[in-house]
């Protein structure tokens, strides 16, 4: 399935911050995401580390 599970500072599955994500973009300085139900997520002070379509995962990390 090409819907992404999103991790912030991944160490374990408890770091999942969103699932079934279909769209993500940088909007007004933060990371904005939308899942397949139309629900949106906002992550401040973070950047995208990896987008992996094989694992359907996106990894973010906190920045100062």
């Amino acid at each position: 399935m090409c819907e992404f599970t999103v991790y912030l500072n991944r160490k374990s599955d408890s770091d999942i911050i969103a699932t079934n994500v279909i769209k993500s973009k940088i909007k007004e300085g933060h990371i904005s995401m939308m899942d397949s139900s139309g629900k949106t997520y906002r992550v401040d002070n973070a950047e995208i580390v990896t987008v992996d379509s094989i694992m359907a995962e996106m990894h973010l990390k906190t920045v100062a």
Binding site: C2, E3, N20, I22, K23, S32, S36, G38
Partner: protein, 259 residues
Amino acid sequence: MLRIISTGKGGVGKTTTISTLATMMAKEGRKVLVFDTDPSMNLAMTLGIPYQDVPTITENKEEISEELDEMEEENAMAVGKNILDNYSKVNKDGIRIIIMGAIPEEGNGCLCSAVAIVKILMNYVDSDRCPETYDAIFVDSQAGPEILGRGLAKDFDCNLIMTEPTPKSAEVSKQVASLAKRLGITMNLLVINKSEREEDIRKVSDLVGIEPENAVRIRYDHSVIDADWNNQCLLDTYPECDAIKDIYTIKNKLESIKG
């Protein structure tokens, strides 16, 4: 609102069964919405609408994606409304039809994005924002278990696991049944189509791993083939045939889910 999906191997009768159930309910005055998520796109034609007349989601996905670009939940609702208003057709029985479509050109990816858009649309239809209240939503899926892996049928009321009374067909149904267990579907009903023997119920349900009381037969019936050859609606043309009687049994089971 009843939400029903049909799954199983190719050619087992998913489209015929879904279209007949939808027509039965629509003729009783229920408001019915059907999604064709099979890239083969036979459902609209079976319901009397040439599929060329229905704009598909895949051929319009660029426009839909742009609509979501503002990344607001409001945009997702607007996309749902847009698809329902502009990418659907209503047939003579009042059934509203939406076609997901196929991959438009070679090397153009998979159908996951179109399924994601269908999920957004389902969410809109479930919301207070949708002006229509549907009594039943049917999803005709592509062959194989993959549609369940995409999570489209999560928390549906019924998964019609369609099969022929053959081991190869039953093997696909076994995979479907296994995936469906984790999706919170209320009823997984094994439908053994083109069945010529009563004992098919026991043999096939054993193979698939579903209790015989959750299995029904649709008897082999030449009327189904005749209606297809003549491009006729089975229910209109042969309302008393064995297949129709058996599909009424399925309809009664579906209606018993919500009392």
